[in-house]
Symmetry: C2
Subunit: 209 residues, 2 copies
């Protein structure tokens, strides 16, 4: 920026925006005028941050709950043959193992993301923590959705079977196991919905208004 | 900001920044200086928009390709009994039907989103079309990931079977069918990766710098 300096003897006639500053006055520019609007925007963003934190707590509960429910799903049938005991547990099915590990990772990420969410409450205008949360939320959403959807496909198969592929429904024998894994899948989908809301809120808070 | 004011006779020694504006001078501030940077930012956003459009074309191809590959997967075994002909097609498995419908919806959405992507190229600073794309991209990502992951779970089961649940691998008989559905799943995951990149790019273009 440059300012041209006039001589003290000549009289400059400013044509454009300089008219307001008369000769001999002390010119100063009020840049305070923007502040009330700025504060208002900050309040709105702070509200989003607080809501983000609460939703994040809910998602943490849903994700960890899903992982624990699936991880503890186990059922042993009360009858057994000489060679074999009928038992179902989550590690019989690779998809359910993927579910437990994936939802554990998502839950751990959510716990670790809570401090960053607090940072956005304290400093509503900071762009970096919000963008960081948005990036990792998107990745966690993908992992969470894969876990939930693949487990849902297997749970559906366990409930209904498939006559064309000659896969029998195992839920007739292992009712409790199926119930528990179905509950875990529902809980994982709750976490998916919360993640979508979190991402949309972060994006709307990031945009310049 | 510094302004040097040279009088021809006196030498001003500016102490604070207000002092530089001497009595009788015409002070004016160039606020034009911000404009080139603004344009530069616009160019950067325009680049992101163009890249967004190209990636969106790729995601459209991947999604529609996945839907068509899965939808046309069909195999009839060359031997048959008196009552039964061995045939496998995508509509034998509900998960594969969900895949075809879901990926069709995602592909249709991607085609419809192309004009909005062009709008962001023409007007790089417009917030509304970008935010709209981000919201629907997030929803489409969720649908796309569910389709891909649930079909992957079933394809894995078809390849490997599960001895604990007594589900046999059907890929030994229906090799071509499995190959084609596996290809469709891979293509769907390519679309998932592109969606994640699209969302992250939209978010970084939305943020105020």
């Amino acid at each position: 920026m440059k300012s041209t300096s006039g001589d003290s003897t000549t009289i400059n006639i400013p044509e454009s925006r300089n008219k307001t500053v008369a000769k001999g006055e002390t010119p100063y520019v009020r840049i305070q005028a923007a502040h009330p609007m700025h504060d208002q925007k900050g309040g709105w963003k702070k509200g989003i941050s607080i809501f983000d934190f609460i939703l994040r707590l809910g998602a943490t509960a849903a994700a960890l709950g899903a992982a624990i429910a699936m991880g503890s799903s186990e059922q042993t049938l009360p009858f057994f043959t000489q060679f074999f005991q009928f038992q179902a547990s989550y590690d019989d099915l690779p998809t359910f193992m993927f579910f437990v590990i994936g939802m554990g990772i998502v839950g751990a990420y959510l716990v670790l993301s809570l401090p960053f969410s607090i940072v956005t409450i304290v400093r509503p205008h900071a762009v970096a923590p919000r963008l960081l949360l948005l990036i990792f939320d998107t990745l966690a959403l993908t992992l969470n959705t894969s876990c939930a959807a693949s487990a849902a496909a297997i749970v559906y198969l366990a409930h209904n079977g498939n006559s064309d592929a000659n896969w029998l429904a195992i839920c007739q024998q292992f009712g409790d196991f199926c119930q528990q894994s179905s509950g875990a899948v529902v809980s994982a989908f709750v976490a998916v919905v919360i993640f979508v809301i979190l991402i949309l809120m972060s994006a709307s808070a990031l945009r310049k208004v």
